[in-house]
Every structure is written in structure tokens, then in C-alpha cells.
């Protein structure tokens, strides 16, 4: 299976500890999630070394008679041997042909990989105008101008080159990885999809150049409910940004007044990953941001339109000692409440691990929090089974139902370590309802899906593949229903402003929902 290479050579170069992630997406449209793992490489290639490449693994679930989870490496056959110093991946069908495309971010080169629909990909970076040589980390496909074509937002980290390396030191004067503050931040980038297979860099006229920051995780969502998709960017050491889409092609950063830029003490944090979901069932969505181990993660609870409050302590999520990267709200036990997974790995060397002989002493364990009916989170890591025991240097986290059994599995992308697939054997004991929403031939990214409650209010989710850290996740929405097996209705609010209700959907299966058409069982 896949093992990440960070190219560490003892020089303690910053990129070594930043990558990487990957993607869960159905590249061959056979109804199951395939897996792309983004690879690093040596940073000082002398031309003689073999450079590993990112790998694509085909999920053979659909073809397997025993329905067992099994992956086959199809990288070469798919023409997907990307040999850059990769960071992360974003997925979206940018040409609306019904096949999911991939954008891989990296240090020095990004790649737009068009899915030809025949099991192969074409590197169309140059022809699409999506080339980018700056250190790119996160990316998200979203239709910011509502023209029906997915645009692309790319976060940039710092201005770095191997020849610009600095010597940095820990508090005891020993060499350590640098704080990114020693390098200049680089503004993020917005690429407009022209609808003809090309993109245009519209960044200068969007206002995004106003406040360059060290960007990492990103997600798109209509955060002020005005019908236009906004952006939330997690920045490392700089205030996080909440770019409100003004609907005229420009954006303004409203994070500070919204209360989602800094922690409750007014301090910017070293933010890495991000997720957004309604965790308390009140109809609006909370932002969760992962941070450095001496800061703790932050939950920004929504208390009104564009109003957030840091409620990390109150929700039981304050914990020091873990540097969080990838994070997802998932209802792991299908009890209808979204739980939380955080994957961790330090960015400063641990003296204790070094003393024990660890050559890459940044290891930490991952965390699982159970949502106690929207009141608070309770950490369950110790009881989460063997999957949460090993220490790794985790970065990306993607979620999705890999075995199509109705619960959410996880993929953890470890830096300088093995990729880990965590199969969920908890949630399948409960009832569930799975939804895939299409807009034309592609997944309706950022559409909202609301499940009508039996007695109480609707439960809302979004079609969301972005967020977390350098990863793309399953576009399908799963509603955990606990013990309720009765047929349910859902309402879909598409990103184009239209809404539609789909009634009497039988549970314990997936449904495909398209505008103006009756619901179809998925797969049929």
C-alpha cells in the first residue's frame, strides 16, 4: 500500500512537514469510491534519484462477488503518474461531462488532470491555464459566479525555495523546523472557469490580493445565505479569512467582525484544517478549525447570520498537545448527530520521541469525539479501537462510504508513513439514508440537503467534498437515522437557488436526486 515520502534529508526544510493529502472520488463511475494518494519526493533531486509518484487506487467493490473492500493500483494505466512535490487534491467535474476531474496542488507545480471517461486522465494544466508554480496547499472547486461551471480556488502558503531555507531553532537552541512566519505569505488565487476548457486568473479583480496570508485548508459554502458561495480559509499564523462573495465578482474578508478569524483571546492561530457543519441541530453551521499543539483547536459556533463565537471550551473540544491537520464532522455511529474526527501530527520535533530513537519525531495520535446530542463533544479516542492507537504524523483526512454499507469510513494520509484506511464497523447497525445530488451530469457541490424530521426540525447537510486538509471527500450525504426505519423525505436546495422536495425515500440505501426528475435508487 501507499507510503508517503517527504524527502527529508536532515536539513529540516519546511515543506517536509506540510504534505500531504489525497482524494476519494469515483473516477470510473462504477458506484464506489476510488482513492488518490498525493506523494512527495526528494527536495534536492539531482536527476539520478527515482521520484515516487502520486498513486490512484481503484476500488474493486462493485466488481467483487464477496463485496469485500479491495483496491488495485491503476496509476500507470490511468496515466496519473504525477511526480511533483505534492500537497493536496481537489475534485470536481470542471467540464461538466459527468466524469470527476482532479486538481493536485504542490510545491513548484500544480496539475489539472482531466478525466477522459475511459479510465485515463490527461494532464491539461497548460491548456486549461491552471499552471501555478507557487507553493499551493488547499484547493476547492466551486461555482462562485453561478454560471454553471466550477471555478477553482487555490490556497498559497509561503514564498519558499530550497535555496531560501533558514536555520531555525527550538527553545533549547537545537535545530528544528521553522515557524512559517519566517517566510513571506503569498496571496491565494481564484481561477474562473470560462466554460470552454480554460480558466482565467481573476484574482486581481476579486480583492483577494488585499491580505496575503499563509493559507492551508479551504472550504466553500454560502455562509451568509445570500445565494452566493463564500470561502473560508484556514491560515497558519495569520487570521483566518472569511471571503464573502459580493455577487459581482469581488470578495471581502469579513472574518474578524464575524468572530471567525482569531480565537476568543483575539489571537491568530496556526490553523491547518477546517470543516463546517450543523453540529447542534439548530439549522445553522459551525466552523471547526485545527491548530497548533500549544493553541488547541477552535470551534466557532454560529449564533446568528455571519455571527460566530468561539465555543471550543463549552463544547468540550479544548485540548492542548495535539497539532491538528485534517478534520471531518462525520456521524460515525449513525445516531443522527455529527461526530468529529481530527488527525494530528506535530510540526516541531518532540524531544521525548527523539530520545527514544525516532528519526521523525513528530508523531501524535488521532482523535475521535462523539457528539452528545448537540450539547457537547466527548472524546472517545481511548475507546475507538485499534485504529486510533498508533502514532503517526497525520495530515490529510478524507471521509466517505468506501464499502457502500451506509456508514462513513475514513482515509488518513500520513506524512512519511503509510496511508491508512479505517473501515467503520460501528454505524452499519443503525438505519441510514444515502443521497447523491446531481446538477446536470455532475455532483451538485455545495447544494444543501435537508431531511424532514419525524417529530423535530429538519436535519441539514451539504454536498461537500472540500474542507479538511489537502483532501477531497465523498460527495454523497449520509443521514444517520438511529433506529428509525420509516421512509423519509428530503429537500434539496441547489446552488442555483432552486429547491425541490423528494418524498418517501426508503431507508438503508442510496438515492440519486436530480432537478425535476423522480428520485432514483443509486446504484439501481
Amino acid at each position: 500500500m501507499f507510503t508517503h515520502v517527504n524527502g527529508a534529508s536532515g536539513e529540516l526544510l519546511l515543506p517536509e512537514v506540510i504534505g500531504s493529502g489525497g482524494a476519494l472520488f469515483d473516477y470510473d463511475n462504477d458506484g464506489d469510491l476510488d482513492l488518490l494518494a498525493v506523494q512527495g519526493k526528494t527536495l534536492r533531486a539531482d536527476g539520478t534519484q527515482h521520484s515516487p509518484t502520486s498513486r490512484l487506487y481503484r476500488n474493486d467493490l462493485a466488481a467483487a462477488a464477496d463485496r469485500r473492500l479491495r483496491f488495485t493500483d491503476v496509476t500507470e494505466a490511468a496515466g496519473l503518474s504525477v511526480a511533483s512535490y505534492g500537497m493536496g487534491a481537489a475534485t470536481g467535474d470542471y467540464d461538466n461531462d459527468g466524469w470527476v476531474d482532479v486538481y493536485v496542488t504542490g510545491l513548484g507545480a500544480n496539475h489539472m488532470l482531466r478525466n477522459r471517461g475511459d479510465g485515463t486522465f490527461a494532464d491539461v494544466t497548460a491548456s486549461t491555464g491552471t499552471r501555478d508554480t507557487r507553493w499551493s496547499t488547499g484547493a476547492a472547486f466551486f461555482d462562485y459566479d453561478r454560471d454553471g461551471w466550477l471555478d477553482l480556488f487555490v490556497t498559497h502558503y509561503v514564498d519558499f525555495g530550497v535555496d531560501m531555507r533558514r536555520a531555525c531553532f527550538a527553545a533549547d537552541s537545537t535545530r528544528d523546523y521553522c515557524n512559517p512566519a519566517v517566510y513571506s505569505p503569498v496571496a491565494d488565487r481564484l481561477l474562473h472557469n470560462n466554460g470552454n476548457g480554460t480558466f482565467s486568473d481573476v484574482t486581481p479583480r476579486t480583492g483577494l490580493l488585499r491580505s496575503p496570508a499563509r493559507g492551508l485548508g479551504v472550504l466553500a459554502a454560502d455562509l451568509n445565505a445570500d445565494g452566493w458561495l463564500d470561502l473560508y480559509v484556514a491560515n497558519d499564523g495569520d487570521p483566518n479569512q472569511l471571503w464573502i462573495n459580493r455577487g459581482n465578482g469581488s470578495f471581502s474578508d469579513e472574518a474578524l467582525l464575524a468572530g471567525a478569524a482569531v480565537n476568543r483571546n483575539g489571537q491568530a492561530q496556526g490553523s491547518m484544517g477546517v470543516d463546517l457543519a450543523d453540529v447542534d441541530g439548530d439549522g445553522d453551521e459551525e466552523l471547526f478549525v485545527t491548530n497548533l499543539d500549544n493553541e488547541g483547536n477552535t470551534l466557532y459556533r454560529s449564533v446568528g447570520p455571519m455571527l460566530y463565537e468561539d465555543r471550543t471550551l463549552e463544547m468540550g473540544l479544548f485540548r492542548l498537545g495535539f497539532t491538528g491537520f485534517g478534520t471531518r464532522f462525520v456521524d460515525y455511529d449513525n445516531d443522527s448527530w455529527l461526530d468529529l474526527v481530527v488527525v494530528n501530527g506535530a510540526v516541531r520535533l518532540s524531544r521525548e520521541q527523539a530520545r527514544r530513537g525516532d528519526l521523525f519525531p513528530l508523531r501524535q495520535r488521532n482523535q475521535l469525539y462523539r457528539n452528545d446530542r448537540g450539547r457537547r463533544f466527548i472524546e472517545l479516542t481511548e475507546r475507538a479501537g485499534a485504529a486510533f492507537v498508533p502514532l503517526h504524523v497525520a495530515r490529510g483526512l478524507a471521509s466517505g462510504d468506501l464499502d457502500n454499507d451506509g456508514d462513513t469510513d475514513l482515509v488518513v494520509f500520513n506524512n512519511s508513513g503509510p496511508l491508512r484506511v479505517l473501515r467503520n464497523d460501528v454505524g452499519q447497525g443503525q438505519h441510514w439514508l444515502g443521497i447523491r445530488v446531481l446538477e446536470g451530469r455532475r455532483d451538485a457541490l455545495h447544494a444543501r440537503v435537508a431531511l424532514a424530521g419525524r417529530k423535530g426540525p429538519r436535519v441539514g447537510r451539504r454536498v461537500q467534498v472540500d474542507g479538511s486538509y489537502g483532501t477531497a471527500s465523498d460527495p454523497r450525504v449520509i443521514f444517520g437515522l438511529a433506529g428509525d426505519s420509516s421512509a423519509r423525505s428530503v429537500r434539496v436546495d441547489w446552488a442555483n437557488g432552486r429547491s425541490e422536495e423528494f418524498r418517501d425515500l426508503a431507508v438503508d440505501r442510496y438515492w440519486m436526486l436530480e432537478q425535476g426528475k423522480p428520485a432514483r435508487a443509486h446504484p439501481p
Partner: protein, 456 residues
């Protein structure tokens, strides 16, 4: 260092010699130093070879002092003091596991002294072990009720644990002794309880007492926002900074005075500088210079801090010293030239840059600064258009950019070659637009009228 008793990590015991060697090579950190008495804990020792020499020397001496104090005739107080000193030193260098064990030993040996649980509590507070911190502060207060810093830190622990009732009680009791700290804590509690008016009152009190605590403006903004007073909220956000309310705490403040070594003192100074704590930054950089008088980095940083403090005379002094130590330091030459130019000392500025260039080839930034002075210094007697154009063109050919095209334009203006100058400026505008730098393009466009009618 001659310690008689060291113990390797237990997991390594019994491994073959070859494996042991391999682990040693891979292990940059040291061993555990056995306790000098059976009822004490071993103290993890860092690998002193990888640490800056003055720091390693300090740590070596502190470990040595523990060993020396461990002799049979030493009193418990003597041994406790040695462990306490070691703990403080490790704490100052954030060697937390070493500090924890050393403080614990000091506390075991001297169980009626509040200092050790207090410092241990502070260490736990720093590292997020809040229940342990609470226990240690409780113990410190039992032993020494007058130690109000322990009560203040415990109040902060309660806030982090979201134990608002206990936090409120603690902050109320601290209003006399630490008024700004108490007001800020009570404001935070009110904010969490959404009593926004009370929060504003408390934060205003805290800021009146400690105006340097600029981070409180953010909390104040959130309180105004809660009341829907958005203009006031925005005004407070504009004032927000990184300063926090500090309590007078000799014990904790004393830890930072233990730090030695140019490298670490520079790091501390830079951190203070970045936090806007300029006076402390001056203190750190001055200390670094005392440790290493020829430290170019420390003197550069000190000079830069003086610039920020509005003391150009002192900054010039530091930058001149840097250039005496390292005449080829072109960045310092540029900074000094800018300072001199600001004080209309253009001839000296040009001389500084020329001298720096004579040491090695002129960097682009140095050449550009020099070219701009030679082309457009307000004192026309120092101008030299020919030299300016030569420098500007060389830089532009090497690194074409809007800024460098503008420098060429300035030199051409000085030579009276207006048409060429205008073309060069138009090129600069075009390059700025291509780079998406709309603000720079607008600034350059505003210069265009000056290039018409014979560059008047």
C-alpha cells in the same frame, strides 16, 4: 561531564551491542540522570552536544550541581535547591520533561515550600494539563496563601476548564491585588454568559488599568457586536493588538532571565518584536549583544527596533557598528542609507551604499536604492544621472519588474530624456498590471503627468 550515574531508557536494556549502537546514533537526545536519592525521580537530560555552547554549559553545570548536592552530608534543602535550579533552567529552555521531574524532586525534598508546586503548576498550565495545574496551584496556596499569583493562574485554569463559577469567585478575590487581570477575567466570563454590557464595563476597566493589553480590544469588539453596536465593534477591531494583561510574577518572569546564548536571546527578542513589545525586544537584543558583542544579527535587530521606537539616532549607531563588523552587509547599508536620507544626509547615504558595493557585487536592492538616490535625491548636488542609469539598467536587465523599470525612468528624467523616461514608466505600469498589482499600477499611473512637457 563525569556523572557517576546515568540510566538509559528502560526499553533499551538487554539489547545487543550492535542494536544499542544503532539506537545511540539515531538518538539526538540524551539519557536520564539517576536520582541522587531513592525516593526521587530520574531527570531526563537533553543531548548537550546538539545545544548551543553557552546553554549546554549552563545545563551541564546545573546537572553537575545536583550530583554534587547529592552527597551524603547534604541537607534536604540543599538538594532541593539544586533540583529547583535545574528545574528552572530546563523550564526556561522549554525542556518540560526535565523541568517536571526536577520540580517534583525539589517538592518531595522540600514539601513545605510553595515555590515548587507553583512552578510545576505553571508548567502544567503551559502544557495544557489543567487538572494537574489546578492541583499544584491548590497545593501552592495551601503552603503559601500569600502567593496571589497562584490564585491568578488558578483563575485562568478555571476559565480554560469553563468552570465559570469558580473562576468568577477567584477573579473577584483578585480585584484588589491584580485589578486589570481580574477585570479582564470577569469581562471574559460576562462575554461567555452573553452579558455584553457587563463585559464592556469590565474590559474598559481592564484597558484603563493596562492600556498595553491591546488584545482586549478584540474582546471588547465582540461585546459591542453582541449588542449590535457594529461601528463601535469595528473601531475596537481596528485597535486590537497582541498585548495581554500581565500580572507581576517574579517567579515566572525570573525564568526568562536564565536564558543565555545569542541564538536564543535573538529568538526571544524577535518574538517580543513581533508581538509589538519593543522595549522588551530592546532588552533581549541588548542581552544578546552582551553575550556576543560582534553579533551582526543582534545589532541589526536592535537597530530595527530603535527605528520602530522612533529613535533613529540609536538605530544609526547600531547599523554603523554592523557595517564596521561586516562591511559587505548590504541590507544594513540600505537600512542605514534610508535613515540617513530621511535626515537629509544624502551624501553620507550614497557613501554608505557605495562602500557596501565595493566589498562585493551590488545586490539588486542596494543598486536600486543607490540609483534612486543618484537620480532623484532632493539635494541636487549629489545627483549623478549617468551613474544612476547605468545601475538601474543593469538591475532591470537582470530582474525585469515594474519597480526596476520605474528606477530606469527616474534616471532618464534626471538626464532630461523625457520621452524615453515616459516609455519606461509605461512599461512599469504594464508590468504591474500583468502581475495583478493594481495598487502599484495606479500609483505609477499617477506619476505619468510628471513625465509630460519636458519632465516638469
Amino acid at each position: 561531564m563525569g556523572h557517576r550515574a546515568r540510566r538509559s531508557h528502560p526499553a533499551k536494556a538487554g539489547l545487543s551491542f550492535l542494536v544499542w549502537v544503532a539506537l545511540q546514533v539515531a538518538t539526538p537526545y540524551g539519557q536520564e540522570v539517576l536520582p541522587v536519592r531513592d525516593d526521587l525521580r530520574p531527570v531526563p537530560m537533553p543531548d548537550l552536544d546538539s545545544i548551543e555552547a553557552p546553554v549546554a554549559e549552563q545545563l551541564r553545570a546545573a546537572f553537575g550541581a545536583v550530583e554534587e548536592a547529592g552527597g551524603a552530608r547534604s541537607s534536604r534543602e540543599t538538594v532541593a535547591a539544586a533540583y529547583g535550579s535545574l528545574g528552572r533552567l530546563c523550564h526556561a529552555y522549554e525542556l518540560f520533561d526535565c523541568a517536571e521531574a526536577a520540580y517534583a524532586n525539589a517538592g518531595s525534598l522540600e514539601s513545605r515550600r510553595g515555590t515548587w508546586p507553583y512552578l510545576l503548576g505553571y508548567l502544567f498550565q503551559q502544557t495544557g494539563r489543567l487538572e494537574d495545574a489546578d492541583s499544584q496551584f491548590w497545593l501552592a496556596l495551601q503552603l503559601d496563601p500569600a502567593r496571589r499569583e497562584a490564585a491568578a493562574r488558578r483563575a485562568d485554569v478555571y476559565l480554560r476548564q469553563n468552570r465559570l463559577r469558580q473562576a468568577r469567585d477567584e477573579f473577584q478575590e483578585l480585584r484588589e491585588v491584580f485589578p486589570a487581570f481580574a477585570a479582564s477575567g470577569l469581562g471574559e466570563i460576562a462575554l461567555r454568559e452573553r452579558r455584553f454590557k457587563d463585559a464592556i464595563e469590565h474590559f474598559r476597566t481592564a484597558l484603563a488599568r493596562a492600556p498595553e493589553a491591546t488584545a482586549l480590544h478584540y474582546s471588547l469588539a465582540m461585546a459591542y457586536r453582541g449588542l449590535g453596536r457594529l461601528d463601535e465593534a469595528r473601531a475596537e477591531l481596528d485597535r486590537r493588538g497582541g498585548g495581554v494583561v500581565k500580572i507581576g510574577d517574579a517567579e515566572v518572569d525570573g525564568l526568562s532571565t536564565l536564558v543565555r546564548g545569542e541564538r536564543l536571546l535573538l529568538i526571544r527578542g524577535k518574538a517580543a518584536f513581533d508581538a509589538g513589545d519593543l522595549l522588551n525586544a530592546v532588552a533581549w537584543f541588548t542581552k544578546a549583544i552582551a553575550d556576543a558583542p560582534d553579533s551582526v544579527a543582534a545589532r541589526r535587530q536592535l537597530g530595527t527596533t530603535f527605528v520602530r521606537l522612533g529613535e533613529p539616532g540609536k538605530a544609526i549607531e547600531q547599523f554603523e557598528t554592523v557595517l564596521r563588523i561586516d562591511p559587505a552587509d548590504q541590507q544594513t547599508a540600505i537600512d542605514l542609507a534610508i535613515l540617513l536620507s530621511d535626515r537629509a544626509r544624502f551624501r553620507e547615504a550614497i557613501a554608505v551604499l557605495t562602500r557596501a558595493g565595493a566589498q562585493s557585487s551590488l545586490a539588486s536592492a542596494t543598486a536600486t536604492t543607490l540609483a534612486r538616490l543618484l537620480a532623484a535625491a532632493p539635494d541636487r548636488s549629489v545627483r549623478d544621472g549617468v551613474k544612476a542609469l547605468e545601475l538601474a539598467r543593469a538591475v532591470f536587465d537582470r530582474e525585469p519588474s515594474a519597480a526596476h523599470a520605474e528606477t530606469v525612468a527616474l534616471a532618464l528624467v534626471e538626464l532630461g530624456r523625457c520621452t524615453e523616461a515616459r516609455d519606461s514608466l509605461l512599461k512599469a505600469i504594464s508590468m504591474a498590471e500583468q502581475a495583478g498589482d493594481t495598487a502599484e499600477a495606479a500609483r505609477l499611473k499617477a506619476q505619468l503627468p510628471k513625465y509630460a512637457n519636458g519632465c516638469q
